[in-house]
Amino acid sequence: MAQAFTKAMARNIFYGGSAFFFLLLLALTFQTEADFPNLDNRAALEGPMGAKITKGKQLWEENNCIGCHTLLGEGGYFAPELGNVYTRFGNSTDAIKGFIASRPENGIPGRRSMPQFHFSDEELTALAEFLKYVSEIKTARNWPPNIQG
């Protein structure tokens, strides 16, 4: 670097640039928040199933489902994507409930298996309603690319 370029100039670029782009991030965040109501399926949270979905998210978190599965592409890469599992299971919450409830206690020999969580029927409903709610979030370009997630 040429001698004309001093440390003080470099420092000013750092502080000025960081401040500018942080403010830009904040501005984009405000705009994004304004756009969320059209995309994030909050109607479901405010609707009759809202309490069930809330309970479902709590169960999702307190059993660390994200440790194996991805949800909208984020999480563990060990087990199938669940952002669209509701549609993959034929738009059926019962199919989701049935799958979770029927996992064998000691797994399937030689294969990856989902643990048996011993959920009550009410809890299964809550989880299924949570997954249905997520599947109805409007993702860009309708991600994932196809039904397989």
Partner: protein, 462 residues
């Protein structure tokens, strides 16, 4: 070691290395579970092994950063640490909290742990990388605040160097953005949006300030190049980090229910994120070429150069590989992400931590400048074994990820996830073998601390 109080760093470094070993062991368990699905099931299901693997990494990197801060801040400020006793106390608090958390992961089911720690009062658990019970998260906040207070007061009473100020800024950012881990709305889109303010703004933001400060500190020491030159470079590198990386957050806002314009913002800015890493590589090699002394700690210099190269490859090149939204549409959440994650974390944060430890540990153990030749040679072996095996882990996961993206998302007859996983199992086997080589490297690394310590040291100044 110039100041007595720097010695608290030693505790942090030893704990960091111990957790590093735990991280790798659980990584190997997970790697095996990828191909032998019932391995350790249901005693240690995959999600538990993954939690230990990733959380141990985060905690040991934090330990290493804190150790680095307690070591370099007094030396830069040219004064003793403000309250060394506080640094020792918080170390034990941190270690016990980390140990209890890992024990909780392994001995209890996660839902029992959630109940025991009263997650329902302030639900923060069960989100990727932020799985720690709320009380552990509060503990992390207390420990980091105490660190900030301690080094802040030290800097106030001593010399104010750019390295110290940037390190302080980075650690302050670390504390501030971690607070978003306590925000957990039911609305999944908003939950994810602000979750990235912890995860992205940490690893592609403020952590890079910490990395830069640590690298600059070690380069000054081992090359003897003028501080003005090194600090000028440091400012330019971290300026580019934040100029590209802040809006680069957008590459996580492609497919999670966020508006379309993020496809553009995220693609364009994150495509520029390799620039600061490339500059860092040029910087490190330039400084070493212009060195004014032959520092006897050759292996610390090797780690420093390794950091610059591997951070560029892992974070820069492998990040760019899948950061453009048309590509990411097919690769999002596949093994490509895992490949990038592995090399980026190793290249940037693991290697800078080992650079710092490699430089400081001989001094903390009472040597004048460096470890004896025998020990350094062993450590160099560990450098090459770990680094080369990590390159292979990354290549195998990339192979797996390309096939996965194709079979599951691009081909005319997309196959279900589990069918695809069977098809690509060869790559997972190869990854596991590379992982075993990594473990051998790690064993040599630990062994290097116990080799040749009684050999006399060549007399060297500084």
């Amino acid at each position: 070691m110039k100041y007595k109080s720097q010695s608290v760093a030693k505790l942090y470094f030893i704990a960091a290395i111990a957790l590093f070993v735990a991280q790798i062991l659980f990584g190997l368990i997970m790697g095996l579970q990828y191909v032998m699905g019932d391995f350790l099931f249901p005693a240690i299901p995959f999600n538990v092994a993954r939690m230990v693997h990733t959380n141990a990494l985060i905690i040991w990197l934090l330990m290493a950063f804190m150790g680095a801060a307690y070591y370099l801040v007094p030396e830069e400020a040219e004064t003793e640490l403000f309250a060394p006793w506080l640094a020792t106390l918080t170390f034990w608090i941190f270690l016990i909290a980390a140990g209890a958390t890992v024990a909780g992961y392994l001995l209890l089911s996660y839902s029992e742990l959630a109940k025991l720690t009263m997650n329902e009062l302030l639900p923060t658990m069960g989100r990727e990388f932020l799985e720690q019970p709320t009380i552990t998260k509060l503990g992390i906040v207390v420990v980091v605040l105490s660190l900030l207070f301690n080094i802040g007061m030290t800097i106030l009473k001593g010399r104010k160097t750019s390295i110290n100020l940037i390190l302080l800024l980075g650690l302050t950012g670390l504390a501030v953005f971690f607070l978003f881990s306590f925000y957990n709305p039911v609305n999944v889109v908003r939950d994810k949006y602000y979750w990235w303010w912890v995860v992205h703004l940490w690893v592609e933001g403020v952590w890079e300030l910490i990395l830069g400060a640590m690298l600059a500190f070690v380069l000054i020491k081992v090359t003897g190049v003028d501080r003005e030159v090194i600090e000028k470079w440091l400012y330019i590198v971290i300026a580019m980090v934040l100029i590209t990386g802040l809006i680069g957050t957008g590459h996580h806002y492609f497919w999670i229910g966020t508006p379309d314009y993020w496809l553009w913002w995220g693609s364009i800015f994150s495509a520029m994120e390799p620039i600061p890493f490339f500059m860092m590589t040029v910087f490190a090699f330039n400084m070493v070429n212009k060195r004014r002394r032959e520092h006897p700690n050759k292996v610390a210099t090797l780690w420093a150069l390794g950091t610059a190269v591997m951070a560029f490859l892992g974070a820069g090149v492998w990040g760019f590989l899948h950061t453009l939204s048309p590509v990411n549409y097919y690769t999002h959440g596949t093994q490509i992400t895992a490949a990038h994650g592995h090399m980026a974390f190793y290249g940037a944060y693991v290697m800078i931590s080992l650079t710092m430890i490699s430089y400081a540990m001989p001094l903390l153990r009472g040597r004048n400048a460096a470890n004896p030749g025998k020990s350094q040679v062993l450590e160099m072996w560990s450098f090459w074994l770990m680094t080369v095996s990590m390159v292979f882990i990354t290549l195998f996961l990339t192979g797996a990820g390309i096939l996965q993206s194709y079979l599951q998302r691009i081909s005319e007859n997309p196959m279900p996830f589990m069918v695809v996983q069977d098809q690509i199992s060869l790559f997972y086997w190869l990854r596991e073998i590379a992982g075993l080589v990594f473990l051998i490297g790690l064993v040599l690394y630990v062994a290097s601390f116990f080799v040749g310590q009684n050999e006399p040291e060549a007399a060297v100044a500084d």
